[in-house]
Symmetry: D4
Subunit: 248 residues, 8 copies
């Protein structure tokens, strides 16, 4: 339940268009719902502007299904990250509207319409191997109501590909840069734009890429200003932050 919806409910009560009993029912588990193994944070949309998101890693398929089962009753849009195919198939059984982005390992269920932003988020990536993270970010940004422009495989080894797309990147309200290996793309783009840039290191690489640590360190130490960074492979988190900015 977001602010608008809560306000509307209270107005209906005030104007006697809704009985106290019905309002109570609507507000049941207003704060959170205790499922025993999980407490669904129903208040989160009010506080954070978006309902709780399900992080599937480390949860059993049954737990994910039960959480979604409950959330479906709340009529929110649902986002489940790090979901493997088994999880999706179990979710699909209880909700055939569930959409699965296999590369991005992300399940989305749209239960209400979201108004799209006029501005767009540019999601730029260095190489083809970074696509899973790009997909997680894109699916997240879209269900959060953002227009997205994807520009993939423009890493610095062939920097002219990047310059070719610079206008699209500069036209965004906020830019997400996804890169593995040495992650230099974030610095180069950071030096060329005047918009906030959120950098996502990926675990693409081998040896001393240390599962994405090197790209992370590169991005944290960028000589270009205006770059902030999220966890390795955290396409979701980058899109979430970018969406907040894009909605300002």
């Amino acid at each position: 339940m977001n602010k608008e919806e809560l306000k509307s409910l209270l107005q209906q009560v005030q104007q006697n268009n809704m009985s106290i009993d019905n309002a109570l029912k609507e507000l049941e588990d207003f704060s959170y719902k205790d499922l025993g193994f999980a407490k669904i944070d129903n208040e989160r949309e009010l506080r954070n502007g978006y309902p709780e998101v399900i992080y599937c890693a480390g949860k059993t398929v049954e737990q994910v299904v039960k959480i979604i089962e409950f959330m479906l009753t709340k009529k929110n849009n649902i986002l489940a990250t790090r979901a493997d195919k088994d999880t999706y198939e179990a979710v699909y059984k209880i909700c055939p509207e569930a959409v699965y982005n296999e590369l991005g390992r992300i399940i989305t269920i749209r239960q209400k319409e979201t108004k799209l932003t006029d501005n767009y988020i540019a999601i730029v990536s260095a190489g083809t191997s970074d696509l899973p993270v790009v997909e997680e970010a894109t699916a997240t940004a879209e269900i959060l109501g953002n227009k997205v422009e994807k520009i993939v495989d423009v890493g610095v080894a062939g920097i002219h590909r990047l310059f070719d797309k610079l206008d699209i990147i500069r036209g965004a309200k906020v830019v997400i840069v996804v890169a593995g290996m040495e992650g230099a793309l974030a610095s180069v783009i950071g030096g060329l734009i005047d918009k906030p840039l959120i950098a996502v290191p990926t675990s693409v690489g081998y040896g001393t890429s240390f599962g994405g640590l090197t790209a992370l360190l590169t991005m944290l130490n960028s000589c270009a200003s205006g770059i902030s960074v999220v966890n390795i492979d955290n396409g979701f988190g980058a899109a979430y932050s970018a969406s907040m900015i894009n909605h300002l």
Copy 2:
């Protein structure tokens, strides 16, 4: 054999209610039993207040079974941690009373009654993915004779869920906090209670969570006082320490 039992045996000998021969038999392997590949520490309950616990990782199924076989003759309660399903099934064959907590990967065998404490240990966890560690801690605390209150999924992303349960947490004699990812829950609870807090970092997370290292570091550096920490995913160790405190 604990202090009570040893004292009772010596009294029986003193009062001629037990022959020297029988006493010797009872005290056979009093110090330890050498199985060739392992030396069971029979004296541990006397020294530490609880019999030796079996750490199954790195042991073959056969070794675990032989150790339990011997320990059954000593009539102690038995606790085997990090036990996979194969191990349990082999143990079950020689001892159908063995109970398996699958999530917590822990086998317990109760051979004698334990008096429950009046006070309870609160075991609080940040997220649903932390449940395996919660289960290991709970099963351990219970076989050690403690009352336990479990409060799960009250991580700081929805901190009102925590405040809702604060009375139960404050009512405990000692609190265990189980958290992965950034592990901030320990600091928040630590700032709100006046009881000892044992923090257990879990390996829940990805990228720079480094298999639980980040949560561990968070807990070690807590700005709240009164927090001490155990190894990553060490639900057993936290419960063991908490039990010692709860029995004071």
Copy 3:
């Protein structure tokens, strides 16, 4: 020279209010100025919205003075970070308008008026020992034209201090959270607001705080969404990113 100024110059030339010669002189070193040991990036304001900033660490006092000497001729506002007192004193000699924030080790010189934003950036810190980073961030945000609200010493060990200030934090367009030790403050605030949050880990702490690494890891692994992170003690970078967002 920013976009406005460049446009104005070209219009003057078009309308014959400025001679080609004078225009050329104004545009001298338009791209960059080579001082031998440094190449001042005069074009940066056009690309990034703000002139080049001087990172003093690793530069000799003479180098910093020469760079500022040149930049003064360009009539820009000047920002020099990580400046020790000796550097400031040398700068003061050539420019008595230079202002030094000793705690934040930052020199600012205002040569043109900046329009203040209507919205403000909230800069929140966990402890008194984090003040140097708070000061660096504040001085940076202010010279970049932002209103700032500082809320210091509201770390999670006494979380009621934070709740007392929650309205001010929630009223900001973007929030900077500065914290050392275990850095849990970022997660807690992240769970309570619906605005972008930039987290700055500080090197406050000892032992396993590893000079700020622990706070950094905590922030990267936050269970709350919408948090992005900058380098340890990088108050400047956080303010720069926040300013970009605040100006959207």
Copy 4:
């Protein structure tokens, strides 16, 4: 103000032995006192059982003095850790009752009598070089109202020294073990007692002791059960936890 004191004040008001005005004055800044650069958490004793402790590292001498100046008005016992000699001397000027433990770098000011516990905390250390941490722990434990038994220099290189003192260690309600280098002492004692043990790694050592990291890792991985660990050189934290346990 602790629970007893608050209760007594309310009783006086109820029985008209204290005017509302005087009660208000006593309760001024009840929640916290804002000094500008710091917010003193006056409520902490109520929540945590002990007033806020001052961590001096990273604070200026002036800041520490101002904080203590305010806390003196609250008539609490005061504890300031990681205080260098300059800080002490400045504190001494405003409060000659302040006591300085130079080795432990800790300032204590007793403003009210604390009832001593009947049970004692045993503080055991491996080597003479660990003494500064022992002193920090001892001074902390004592101002928190605990009896303390110190047993120093009983490291495992000469393990008979330890056995000689085992009775004193076993007699404690809770044991603190302080050790640097390889930190093996914690495991050995942990295997010999049936009381909770809090281990403090110290930065004593060189090369691969990595400033105490090795001792910390040793203690976290102890094969003996019942051990929990605090940050490197954190004698204060260990004593704080131990005091909580000792007061149960």
Copy 5:
């Protein structure tokens, strides 16, 4: 070919008991044999006192078989470490005398008799899970001609088991201590004996045991003198060094 054998061959030539041609044939590939993918160091026994040992990890089964095939022609004893079962089975086909220690993953082939030392090496281990390394060390020590005494599962959590075996340990000419987790056993034994001690950290443990790194660091920082250390799980290396010492 060792020194004795080379000397004997030269004497036979000198005394005309061997023709130059036969001597040349015996000395064929005296320095090394090039198999294309490997160069067998035939001279090693002369230089190091023992023939080349085959490290199987990273080699294909075919490569190991071809190396052994050649070495069989040289009539040396053969030692192949880190050999999985497939490798053993392939070796068995060309040499049914090959013996496989499955726990220790080590293949030995005895082609000539080795005189046993009078003194023995004591191989002491902390826990049952350390047995694979104990086996690698034992098999190595034995084929190198040493008497061995194994004492397993005497870790410091039950230190009386160690004291019970102290006489055997003190009777050895050199002691190998094998331990995982916190590895404290090496320090304790080091403080009790006057013989060289070689410590082998094992990868037994979880979380912050970091695959044996913690035990390694413990052993390197031991407060007891006379301890030197080999790589994690390197039972072979420890036995090799110990054998050199035992043969002095």
Copy 6:
């Protein structure tokens, strides 16, 4: 398209031997070709002297096949690294000329003849387990037009094997040294030659070899001069650099 070919095309146009239309067709996608999931850098041979190389890790088999399909139309030699067998088999279906080096996990397709250098690159390795990296380097060097001399299994444990081959090594124009474990071979060779040496650490080893990190650190800290280093297991990169030098 390399410089020669571009020049020839322009000459044909100038001399009216090629129509503008045909020239345009030849120059289609001159800069890069956008395949949606990838942007093939067609200009790379002009800038770097060699066409884009395909890094297969993290790409789906379908993606690799589509990239090669396009590159085949450009008539370049094709190099695909880190290719597993499935990838090769799919490539083979569209291009039976594709050659697979299984040990080196590398696919090469020769579409035009390369002139071989007169000088050779020496590729020297420490042990048999390093062969996969040697193969990657060799296949790369050869398709880049270099003569190669391979010298394998000459690690410092049997240093006479190295001295035996020193003349071949000294005869090379540039030397690649491939070594895992402690990687000492690079230093030893570096001290004996007067040619540039590129060192490749490999992930051969266990325990504290940390997947090649130790060999990398050894090589970076070599006391011999003239050594530069590439990423762990990066046989391709070493050969690429060496080829640049060999072609000078």
Copy 7:
């Protein structure tokens, strides 16, 4: 003594233009000179093409002076790196021809003329703070007989400065790239040239730059091919390798 000089000496002996006695004197200490605390490697120029270089760190001033004193008798050019001012002043006293590059902390003494190469080494750096390493590299390259082009302060935050100098960089026979912080410059240049590139990470930066480790990792993981790397701040090593390549 280099190859030319040795050949010339032998010819003089052959032609009776030099007496055996004089030749012996010239060849005194031909292999190395033992100074007690050091063994000067007189043969190094023959093997490696350049005389031994003195690494001053960790040596006393007296030791450096004695080594130089001896080397002066050999009439070689002398290079001493990591020399502080005290060392230089002591060297100056015995050899006023000694030249000190203070920024690069390097002493050079020219005793014989070196023929300059026709080709040049380009030494490119990211920022002004990298100058000490640039100077070490330049002084080294020059005394080794190379022409050098320096291009400083062209980091990717203002990438147009780099493009402005691209022709000079592309004209070099080998390129050295010096960069701290995130070190992205190496990748960008690597993608734009067809010459070997040696990357030198510098310790410029703070926080997670970890004293140059981040720049090192960036360079090792570059997505551009043809880059090899030397130790942090190792301007000397980069120039030494580059000189070998430049002399091919």
Copy 8:
């Protein structure tokens, strides 16, 4: 008191050549002497073959002096490591026989004659900068009664210097190799000898030498067998182990 001396005392008592009273006085503090801040382990020589050694780092000058004062009464030889000059001067005042090795930072006091071994320990080092560790090892070995041969500055960059001294190294009963930077010398010597080798990594180096960690890792991963390792810069520990071996 060593075994010989204890036996002699008991014999005197048995033969009535010493009164019980005198024997008791001699045996005063037989087990250990408690100085309050330290417990001197008087029994150590009996257990370990050598009296307790004083590690001065982290002890105050006063503490060291008091410890030595007591030990002088026991008529043992005294060894104090990591002693700075101030400590030595204070010791000198109470014992002018104290000898200080300034480079090795070690104080020795000979109070009784030690029989020298017939065999010698070879202490070999890579570079002049390693001399402090060589000195610590030498002084330790000598006071422990060993003959020592020092061979310094024979690092692998000029490997012929090593081969020149190989006979001396091979003649030793046990070899200590001291090396910093990449530490390759240990592997090379390990491949050439048939005696136990104890490797000491030193903190000589910069950048990725990480204060000796790289040399340590090199030595732990040596491809040559028979090498064991001690802590960084631990010349004392290596000599202590070597002395045990040399006395076998």
